[in-house]
Protein backbone atom coordinates (compact mmCIF):
# COMPACT_ATOMS: atom_id res chain seq x y z
CA UNK A 1 0.00 0.00 0.00
CA UNK A 2 1.29 3.44 -0.97
CA UNK A 3 2.20 5.65 1.95
CA UNK A 4 0.70 8.91 0.74
CA UNK A 5 -2.34 7.46 -0.92
CA UNK A 6 -5.30 9.78 -1.40
CA UNK A 7 -8.74 9.00 -0.08
CA UNK A 8 -9.97 8.57 -3.63
CA UNK A 9 -7.25 6.03 -4.41
CA UNK A 10 -7.87 4.12 -1.19
CA UNK A 11 -11.60 4.07 -1.76
CA UNK A 12 -11.29 2.92 -5.36
CA UNK A 13 -8.94 0.15 -4.29
CA UNK A 14 -11.47 -0.91 -1.66
CA UNK A 15 -14.28 -1.02 -4.18
CA UNK A 16 -12.21 -3.23 -6.48
CA UNK A 17 -11.45 -5.58 -3.59
CA UNK A 18 -15.12 -5.85 -2.69
CA UNK A 19 -15.95 -6.64 -6.28
CA UNK A 20 -13.29 -9.34 -6.35
CA UNK A 21 -14.51 -10.86 -3.11
CA UNK A 22 -18.08 -10.74 -4.45
CA UNK A 23 -17.32 -12.79 -7.55
CA UNK A 24 -17.77 -16.54 -7.25
CA UNK A 25 -14.37 -17.31 -8.67
CA UNK A 26 -12.64 -16.10 -5.57
CA UNK A 27 -10.17 -18.65 -4.32
CA UNK A 28 -10.50 -19.55 -0.73
CA UNK A 29 -6.79 -19.20 -0.14
CA UNK A 30 -6.70 -15.65 -1.56
CA UNK A 31 -9.72 -14.58 0.47
CA UNK A 32 -7.73 -14.03 3.65
CA UNK A 33 -5.22 -11.91 1.77
CA UNK A 34 -7.98 -9.77 0.19
CA UNK A 35 -9.75 -9.23 3.48
CA UNK A 36 -6.43 -8.27 5.04
CA UNK A 37 -5.78 -5.74 2.27
CA UNK A 38 -9.25 -4.27 2.66
CA UNK A 39 -8.83 -3.94 6.40
CA UNK A 40 -5.54 -2.17 5.92
CA UNK A 41 -7.12 0.32 3.50
CA UNK A 42 -9.99 0.99 5.89
CA UNK A 43 -7.61 1.47 8.79
CA UNK A 44 -5.49 3.81 6.68
CA UNK A 45 -8.50 6.01 5.88
CA UNK A 46 -9.78 5.96 9.44
CA UNK A 47 -6.41 7.04 10.78
CA UNK A 48 -5.92 9.69 8.13
CA UNK A 49 -9.35 11.19 8.91
CA UNK A 50 -8.26 11.90 12.46
CA UNK A 51 -4.63 12.71 11.99
CA UNK A 52 -3.20 15.34 9.71
CA UNK A 53 -0.04 14.31 7.88
CA UNK A 54 3.05 15.40 9.77
CA UNK A 55 4.25 17.77 7.08
CA UNK A 56 1.19 20.00 7.27
CA UNK A 57 1.49 22.44 10.11
CA UNK A 58 -1.67 23.59 11.68
CA UNK A 59 -1.85 27.36 11.27
CA UNK A 60 -4.29 29.37 13.28
CA UNK A 61 -3.11 32.92 12.76
CA UNK A 62 -2.20 34.81 9.59
CA UNK A 63 0.01 32.94 7.18
CA UNK A 64 0.69 34.04 3.62
Amino acid sequence: MKKNMTYNEAFNALEILVEEIETDEIQLDTLAEKVKQANELIKFCETKLRKIDGDIKKVTEGNK
Binding site: N8, F11, L14, V18, I21, E22, L49, T60, G62
Partner: protein, 388 residues
Protein backbone atom coordinates in the same frame (compact mmCIF):
# COMPACT_ATOMS: atom_id res chain seq x y z
CA UNK B 1 -12.88 114.77 -5.12
CA UNK B 2 -16.40 114.09 -4.63
CA UNK B 3 -16.79 110.41 -4.18
CA UNK B 4 -20.29 109.14 -4.40
CA UNK B 5 -20.72 106.61 -1.65
CA UNK B 6 -22.79 103.60 -2.79
CA UNK B 7 -26.07 103.05 -1.03
CA UNK B 8 -25.61 100.12 1.38
CA UNK B 9 -27.88 97.93 3.36
CA UNK B 10 -27.21 95.53 6.17
CA UNK B 11 -26.31 91.95 5.26
CA UNK B 12 -29.25 90.69 7.27
CA UNK B 13 -31.62 92.80 5.21
CA UNK B 14 -30.41 91.28 1.95
CA UNK B 15 -30.41 87.76 3.37
CA UNK B 16 -33.90 88.26 4.74
CA UNK B 17 -34.97 89.30 1.28
CA UNK B 18 -33.44 86.09 -0.17
CA UNK B 19 -35.07 84.09 2.58
CA UNK B 20 -38.47 85.60 1.80
CA UNK B 21 -38.04 84.98 -1.92
CA UNK B 22 -37.13 81.36 -1.38
CA UNK B 23 -39.98 80.84 1.08
CA UNK B 24 -42.43 82.35 -1.40
CA UNK B 25 -41.23 80.11 -4.18
CA UNK B 26 -40.43 76.87 -2.32
CA UNK B 27 -42.13 77.15 1.05
CA UNK B 28 -44.42 74.24 1.95
CA UNK B 29 -43.52 72.35 -1.21
CA UNK B 30 -41.59 69.13 -1.66
CA UNK B 31 -39.80 67.88 -4.76
CA UNK B 32 -38.72 64.48 -6.03
CA UNK B 33 -35.16 64.51 -7.31
CA UNK B 34 -32.77 61.90 -8.65
CA UNK B 35 -29.11 62.64 -7.96
CA UNK B 36 -25.77 61.16 -7.03
CA UNK B 37 -24.71 61.57 -3.42
CA UNK B 38 -21.23 62.31 -2.14
CA UNK B 39 -19.43 63.41 1.07
CA UNK B 40 -21.86 61.31 3.06
CA UNK B 41 -21.30 61.88 6.79
CA UNK B 42 -23.54 59.72 8.94
CA UNK B 43 -23.90 60.36 12.65
CA UNK B 44 -25.83 57.32 13.81
CA UNK B 45 -25.76 58.38 17.47
CA UNK B 46 -27.53 61.65 16.69
CA UNK B 47 -29.41 60.12 13.76
CA UNK B 48 -28.28 62.85 11.38
CA UNK B 49 -26.66 62.53 8.03
CA UNK B 50 -24.99 65.29 6.02
CA UNK B 51 -24.20 64.84 2.37
CA UNK B 52 -23.98 66.59 -0.97
CA UNK B 53 -26.13 66.07 -4.04
CA UNK B 54 -24.19 66.36 -7.26
CA UNK B 55 -24.71 66.17 -10.98
CA UNK B 56 -21.83 65.56 -13.38
CA UNK B 57 -21.01 66.14 -16.98
CA UNK B 58 -18.45 63.44 -17.58
CA UNK B 59 -16.15 63.78 -14.60
CA UNK B 60 -16.88 67.44 -13.96
CA UNK B 61 -19.34 68.32 -11.26
CA UNK B 62 -21.73 70.85 -12.77
CA UNK B 63 -24.25 71.14 -9.96
CA UNK B 64 -23.87 70.70 -6.25
CA UNK B 65 -26.17 71.23 -3.29
CA UNK B 66 -25.89 70.33 0.41
CA UNK B 67 -28.36 67.84 1.76
CA UNK B 68 -29.34 66.62 5.17
CA UNK B 69 -31.30 63.86 6.90
CA UNK B 70 -32.65 64.70 10.34
CA UNK B 71 -33.77 62.18 12.92
CA UNK B 72 -37.31 61.99 11.53
CA UNK B 73 -36.07 60.66 8.17
CA UNK B 74 -32.88 58.92 9.27
CA UNK B 75 -34.73 55.59 9.37
CA UNK B 76 -34.95 55.79 5.56
CA UNK B 77 -31.18 55.38 5.41
CA UNK B 78 -31.37 52.24 7.55
CA UNK B 79 -34.24 50.88 5.50
CA UNK B 80 -32.39 51.68 2.31
CA UNK B 81 -29.39 49.65 3.49
CA UNK B 82 -31.62 46.80 4.58
CA UNK B 83 -33.69 46.72 1.41
CA UNK B 84 -30.90 47.13 -1.11
CA UNK B 85 -28.19 45.19 0.77
CA UNK B 86 -25.73 47.97 0.16
CA UNK B 87 -24.33 50.67 2.35
CA UNK B 88 -25.59 54.22 2.01
CA UNK B 89 -22.33 55.74 0.80
CA UNK B 90 -20.89 58.26 -1.64
CA UNK B 91 -21.27 57.33 -5.26
CA UNK B 92 -24.83 56.04 -5.04
CA UNK B 93 -27.58 57.51 -7.12
CA UNK B 94 -30.77 57.90 -5.16
CA UNK B 95 -34.28 59.10 -5.76
CA UNK B 96 -35.62 61.13 -2.87
CA UNK B 97 -38.20 63.63 -1.81
CA UNK B 98 -36.71 66.94 -0.59
CA UNK B 99 -37.67 70.27 0.84
CA UNK B 100 -35.70 73.43 0.04
CA UNK B 101 -34.45 75.15 3.16
CA UNK B 102 -32.67 78.41 3.69
CA UNK B 103 -30.99 79.50 6.89
CA UNK B 104 -29.62 82.98 7.38
CA UNK B 105 -26.38 81.65 8.73
CA UNK B 106 -25.94 78.17 7.27
CA UNK B 107 -27.27 78.87 3.81
CA UNK B 108 -29.29 76.70 1.55
CA UNK B 109 -29.71 72.95 1.58
CA UNK B 110 -32.15 70.22 0.71
CA UNK B 111 -33.71 68.34 3.59
CA UNK B 112 -34.44 64.75 2.62
CA UNK B 113 -37.85 63.57 3.74
CA UNK B 114 -38.04 60.17 2.04
CA UNK B 115 -36.02 57.81 -0.20
CA UNK B 116 -37.56 55.77 -2.98
CA UNK B 117 -36.09 52.26 -2.58
CA UNK B 118 -37.75 50.84 -5.62
CA UNK B 119 -35.51 52.93 -7.80
CA UNK B 120 -32.35 51.84 -5.99
CA UNK B 121 -33.41 48.18 -5.99
CA UNK B 122 -34.31 48.32 -9.64
CA UNK B 123 -30.94 49.80 -10.48
CA UNK B 124 -29.12 47.13 -8.48
CA UNK B 125 -31.08 44.39 -10.19
CA UNK B 126 -30.28 45.78 -13.59
CA UNK B 127 -26.59 45.92 -12.72
CA UNK B 128 -26.67 42.38 -11.40
CA UNK B 129 -28.42 41.13 -14.52
CA UNK B 130 -25.87 42.88 -16.72
CA UNK B 131 -22.96 41.35 -14.80
CA UNK B 132 -24.44 37.86 -15.07
CA UNK B 133 -25.09 38.28 -18.78
CA UNK B 134 -21.55 39.50 -19.28
CA UNK B 135 -20.13 36.51 -17.39
CA UNK B 136 -22.01 34.11 -19.67
CA UNK B 137 -21.41 36.06 -22.90
CA UNK B 138 -17.71 36.66 -22.44
CA UNK B 139 -16.74 33.32 -20.89
CA UNK B 140 -17.72 30.22 -22.89
CA UNK B 141 -17.04 28.01 -19.85
CA UNK B 142 -19.70 29.79 -17.81
CA UNK B 143 -23.12 28.59 -18.91
CA UNK B 144 -26.67 29.29 -17.90
CA UNK B 145 -28.60 25.99 -17.77
CA UNK B 146 -32.22 25.99 -16.62
CA UNK B 147 -31.70 29.03 -14.44
CA UNK B 148 -28.57 27.58 -12.90
CA UNK B 149 -25.09 28.91 -13.55
CA UNK B 150 -22.75 26.07 -14.44
CA UNK B 151 -19.09 27.05 -14.08
CA UNK B 152 -15.81 25.16 -14.15
CA UNK B 153 -15.72 25.73 -10.40
CA UNK B 154 -19.08 24.29 -9.47
CA UNK B 155 -18.87 21.56 -12.14
CA UNK B 156 -15.61 20.16 -10.73
CA UNK B 157 -16.08 17.09 -8.55
CA UNK B 158 -15.61 17.54 -4.82
CA UNK B 159 -12.92 15.46 -3.10
CA UNK B 160 -14.20 12.54 -1.00
CA UNK B 161 -12.77 14.13 2.13
CA UNK B 162 -12.00 17.75 2.97
CA UNK B 163 -9.02 18.15 5.20
CA UNK B 164 -6.72 20.92 3.98
CA UNK B 165 -8.84 24.04 3.98
CA UNK B 166 -7.91 27.49 2.68
CA UNK B 167 -10.05 30.04 4.50
CA UNK B 168 -10.52 33.43 2.87
CA UNK B 169 -12.10 35.85 5.30
CA UNK B 170 -11.70 39.14 7.13
CA UNK B 171 -9.29 39.12 10.08
CA UNK B 172 -10.93 38.55 13.47
CA UNK B 173 -14.34 38.41 11.86
CA UNK B 174 -17.32 36.54 13.25
CA UNK B 175 -17.20 34.49 10.06
CA UNK B 176 -13.67 33.29 10.75
CA UNK B 177 -14.55 32.49 14.38
CA UNK B 178 -17.80 30.68 13.60
CA UNK B 179 -16.26 28.57 10.88
CA UNK B 180 -13.11 27.68 12.80
CA UNK B 181 -15.02 26.84 15.99
CA UNK B 182 -17.36 24.38 14.31
CA UNK B 183 -14.50 22.77 12.39
CA UNK B 184 -12.14 22.45 15.33
CA UNK B 185 -14.66 21.29 17.89
CA UNK B 186 -16.25 18.61 15.75
CA UNK B 187 -17.60 15.68 17.73
CA UNK B 188 -16.20 13.07 15.34
CA UNK B 189 -12.61 13.97 16.15
CA UNK B 190 -11.75 14.60 12.49
CA UNK B 191 -8.48 16.42 11.94
CA UNK B 192 -8.32 19.54 9.77
CA UNK B 193 -5.62 21.96 8.71
CA UNK B 194 -7.23 25.38 8.25
CA UNK B 195 -4.98 27.99 6.68
CA UNK B 196 -6.38 31.53 6.85
CA UNK B 197 -5.93 33.93 3.95
CA UNK B 198 -6.99 37.19 5.51
CA UNK B 199 -8.29 40.17 3.62
CA UNK B 200 -10.79 42.93 3.79
CA UNK B 201 -14.07 41.71 2.26
CA UNK B 202 -15.93 45.00 2.04
CA UNK B 203 -15.27 48.31 0.40
CA UNK B 204 -14.16 49.37 -3.05
CA UNK B 205 -10.85 47.48 -2.96
CA UNK B 206 -12.30 44.26 -1.58
CA UNK B 207 -12.78 42.45 -4.93
CA UNK B 208 -9.14 43.02 -5.88
CA UNK B 209 -7.91 41.97 -2.43
CA UNK B 210 -10.00 38.79 -2.40
CA UNK B 211 -8.75 37.95 -5.90
CA UNK B 212 -5.18 38.36 -4.69
CA UNK B 213 -5.78 35.94 -1.80
CA UNK B 214 -7.34 33.45 -4.18
CA UNK B 215 -4.23 33.63 -6.35
CA UNK B 216 -2.10 32.98 -3.25
CA UNK B 217 -4.21 29.92 -2.45
CA UNK B 218 -3.75 28.56 -5.95
CA UNK B 219 -0.01 29.24 -5.91
CA UNK B 220 0.45 27.71 -2.45
CA UNK B 221 2.61 24.61 -1.98
CA UNK B 222 -0.17 23.06 0.05
CA UNK B 223 -2.63 21.18 -2.11
CA UNK B 224 -5.83 22.50 -0.58
CA UNK B 225 -8.89 20.27 -0.85
CA UNK B 226 -11.23 23.21 -0.75
CA UNK B 227 -11.36 27.01 -0.56
CA UNK B 228 -13.84 28.48 1.88
CA UNK B 229 -14.93 32.11 1.56
CA UNK B 230 -16.87 33.34 4.56
CA UNK B 231 -18.07 36.69 5.77
CA UNK B 232 -19.43 37.10 9.23
CA UNK B 233 -21.64 39.28 11.23
CA UNK B 234 -25.39 39.31 10.77
CA UNK B 235 -25.44 43.09 10.56
CA UNK B 236 -23.11 43.30 7.62
CA UNK B 237 -24.99 44.54 4.66
CA UNK B 238 -22.38 45.53 2.14
CA UNK B 239 -22.72 42.88 -0.48
CA UNK B 240 -21.33 44.84 -3.38
CA UNK B 241 -17.88 43.20 -3.53
CA UNK B 242 -19.44 39.81 -4.14
CA UNK B 243 -21.30 41.05 -7.20
CA UNK B 244 -18.13 42.30 -8.84
CA UNK B 245 -17.58 40.99 -12.37
CA UNK B 246 -13.82 40.34 -12.14
CA UNK B 247 -14.07 38.57 -8.79
CA UNK B 248 -17.04 36.47 -9.92
CA UNK B 249 -15.14 35.50 -13.07
CA UNK B 250 -12.04 34.42 -11.16
CA UNK B 251 -14.17 32.37 -8.77
CA UNK B 252 -16.03 30.74 -11.66
CA UNK B 253 -12.82 29.71 -13.39
CA UNK B 254 -10.93 28.62 -10.24
CA UNK B 255 -10.10 24.91 -10.32
CA UNK B 256 -10.19 24.37 -6.56
CA UNK B 257 -13.68 23.78 -5.25
CA UNK B 258 -14.99 26.89 -3.49
CA UNK B 259 -17.65 26.89 -0.79
CA UNK B 260 -19.20 30.24 0.09
CA UNK B 261 -20.80 31.36 3.32
CA UNK B 262 -21.15 35.05 2.74
CA UNK B 263 -24.81 35.85 2.81
CA UNK B 264 -28.05 35.54 4.59
CA UNK B 265 -30.99 33.46 3.58
CA UNK B 266 -32.62 35.98 1.34
CA UNK B 267 -29.77 37.08 -0.82
CA UNK B 268 -27.47 35.33 -3.18
CA UNK B 269 -24.49 37.16 -4.59
CA UNK B 270 -23.06 36.54 -8.04
CA UNK B 271 -20.00 34.96 -6.43
CA UNK B 272 -22.34 32.46 -4.72
CA UNK B 273 -23.81 31.53 -8.09
CA UNK B 274 -20.35 30.86 -9.56
CA UNK B 275 -19.25 28.57 -6.71
CA UNK B 276 -21.14 26.37 -4.22
CA UNK B 277 -23.30 28.43 -1.91
CA UNK B 278 -23.96 27.52 1.71
CA UNK B 279 -25.17 30.81 3.20
CA UNK B 280 -23.44 31.06 6.58
CA UNK B 281 -19.92 30.21 7.83
CA UNK B 282 -21.45 27.68 10.24
CA UNK B 283 -23.28 25.96 7.39
CA UNK B 284 -20.07 25.69 5.38
CA UNK B 285 -18.35 24.05 8.36
CA UNK B 286 -21.30 21.68 8.84
CA UNK B 287 -21.24 20.75 5.14
CA UNK B 288 -17.54 19.85 5.40
CA UNK B 289 -18.12 17.72 8.49
CA UNK B 290 -21.14 15.98 6.93
CA UNK B 291 -19.12 15.23 3.85
CA UNK B 292 -16.32 13.55 5.82
CA UNK B 293 -18.85 11.73 7.98
CA UNK B 294 -20.50 10.43 4.83
CA UNK B 295 -17.16 9.11 3.66
CA UNK B 296 -16.49 7.36 6.95
CA UNK B 297 -19.95 5.84 6.84
CA UNK B 298 -19.21 4.43 3.41
CA UNK B 299 -16.00 2.96 4.78
CA UNK B 300 -17.87 1.25 7.60
CA UNK B 301 -20.48 -0.04 5.18
CA UNK B 302 -17.75 -1.52 3.02
CA UNK B 303 -16.10 -3.03 6.08
CA UNK B 304 -19.34 -4.74 7.10
CA UNK B 305 -19.92 -5.90 3.54
CA UNK B 306 -16.46 -7.44 3.29
CA UNK B 307 -16.88 -9.25 6.59
CA UNK B 308 -20.24 -10.58 5.45
CA UNK B 309 -18.82 -11.66 2.10
CA UNK B 310 -15.87 -13.37 3.73
CA UNK B 311 -18.18 -15.23 6.11
CA UNK B 312 -20.49 -16.21 3.26
CA UNK B 313 -17.56 -17.44 1.19
CA UNK B 314 -16.28 -19.58 4.05
CA UNK B 315 -19.77 -20.89 4.82
CA UNK B 316 -20.29 -21.81 1.18
CA UNK B 317 -16.97 -23.62 1.12
CA UNK B 318 -17.95 -25.50 4.26
CA UNK B 319 -21.30 -26.50 2.79
CA UNK B 320 -19.65 -27.69 -0.36
CA UNK B 321 -17.13 -29.69 1.59
CA UNK B 322 -19.95 -31.27 3.57
CA UNK B 323 -21.75 -32.16 0.35
CA UNK B 324 -18.67 -33.86 -1.13
CA UNK B 325 -18.05 -35.70 2.10
CA UNK B 326 -21.55 -37.10 1.89
CA UNK B 327 -21.04 -38.16 -1.72
CA UNK B 328 -17.77 -39.86 -0.91
CA UNK B 329 -19.42 -41.58 2.01
CA UNK B 330 -22.28 -42.77 -0.20
CA UNK B 331 -19.82 -44.29 -2.63
CA UNK B 332 -17.84 -46.01 0.07
CA UNK B 333 -18.26 -49.86 -0.20
CA UNK B 334 -18.95 -50.04 3.53
CA UNK B 335 -22.02 -47.83 3.00
CA UNK B 336 -23.16 -50.10 0.19
CA UNK B 337 -22.67 -53.31 2.20
CA UNK B 338 -24.71 -51.81 5.06
CA UNK B 339 -27.64 -51.65 2.68
CA UNK B 340 -27.55 -55.43 2.16
CA UNK B 341 -25.42 -55.57 -0.97
CA UNK B 342 -22.50 -57.95 -1.30
CA UNK B 343 -19.22 -57.81 -3.16
CA UNK B 344 -18.44 -60.94 -5.11
CA UNK B 345 -14.83 -62.09 -5.42
CA UNK B 346 -13.47 -64.87 -7.62
CA UNK B 347 -9.78 -65.62 -7.51
CA UNK B 348 -9.43 -62.66 -5.09
CA UNK B 349 -10.71 -60.26 -7.74
CA UNK B 350 -13.98 -58.35 -7.60
CA UNK B 351 -16.34 -59.79 -10.14
CA UNK B 352 -17.60 -57.07 -12.44
CA UNK B 353 -18.24 -59.20 -15.50
CA UNK B 354 -19.83 -62.55 -14.49
CA UNK B 355 -18.97 -64.21 -17.84
CA UNK B 356 -15.76 -65.66 -16.36
CA UNK B 357 -17.78 -67.44 -13.70
CA UNK B 358 -19.00 -70.84 -14.58
CA UNK B 359 -20.77 -73.57 -12.68
CA UNK B 360 -18.36 -74.95 -10.12
CA UNK B 361 -16.36 -71.72 -9.65
CA UNK B 362 -15.64 -70.92 -6.06
CA UNK B 363 -16.74 -67.40 -5.16
CA UNK B 364 -16.46 -65.33 -2.01
CA UNK B 365 -19.32 -63.05 -1.10
CA UNK B 366 -18.27 -60.15 1.16
CA UNK B 367 -21.18 -58.99 3.25
CA UNK B 368 -20.95 -56.37 5.96
CA UNK B 369 -20.34 -58.78 8.80
CA UNK B 370 -19.23 -61.99 7.17
CA UNK B 371 -17.74 -63.60 4.14
CA UNK B 372 -19.59 -66.45 2.58
CA UNK B 373 -17.63 -68.87 0.44
CA UNK B 374 -19.68 -70.86 -1.97
CA UNK B 375 -19.56 -72.79 -5.22
CA UNK B 376 -21.70 -71.76 -8.18
CA UNK B 377 -24.29 -74.38 -9.02
CA UNK B 378 -26.42 -72.53 -11.55
CA UNK B 379 -26.38 -69.26 -13.60
CA UNK B 380 -29.37 -67.37 -15.03
CA UNK B 381 -30.01 -64.05 -16.78
CA UNK B 382 -30.87 -61.06 -14.52
CA UNK B 383 -34.29 -59.81 -15.64
CA UNK B 384 -33.46 -56.32 -14.28
CA UNK B 385 -35.83 -56.64 -11.41
CA UNK B 386 -33.48 -54.55 -9.34
CA UNK B 387 -32.73 -51.91 -11.89
CA UNK B 388 -31.91 -49.10 -9.53
Amino acid sequence: MNLLMPQTQKLSELISDIDTTIKNRFGGKTFWIKAEITDVKKQPDKRWCFLKFIEKDGNTITTEMKGVFWANSYNYIEEFEEETQQKFVSGLEITCNVRVRFHKRFGMDLEVLEIDFAYAIGKLERERKQTLERLVNENPLIRLLDGYYSTPNNRAALPMVFQNIALITAPNSDGQRDFTNVIEQNKYGYAFAVTPFLTQVQGDNAPQLIMEQLRLVEASKTDFDVVVIVRGGGSDIDFKSFNDYELARQIALCEKPILTGIGHDRNTSIVDLMARQLKTPTEVAAFILDNNYGFENNLLRIKARILQLAEDTIDNAKDELKHYKQRVKNLNPTTILKKGFAIVYADDKIVVDPKSITTGTEIKMHLQQEIIISTVTKKAKNEKEYDL
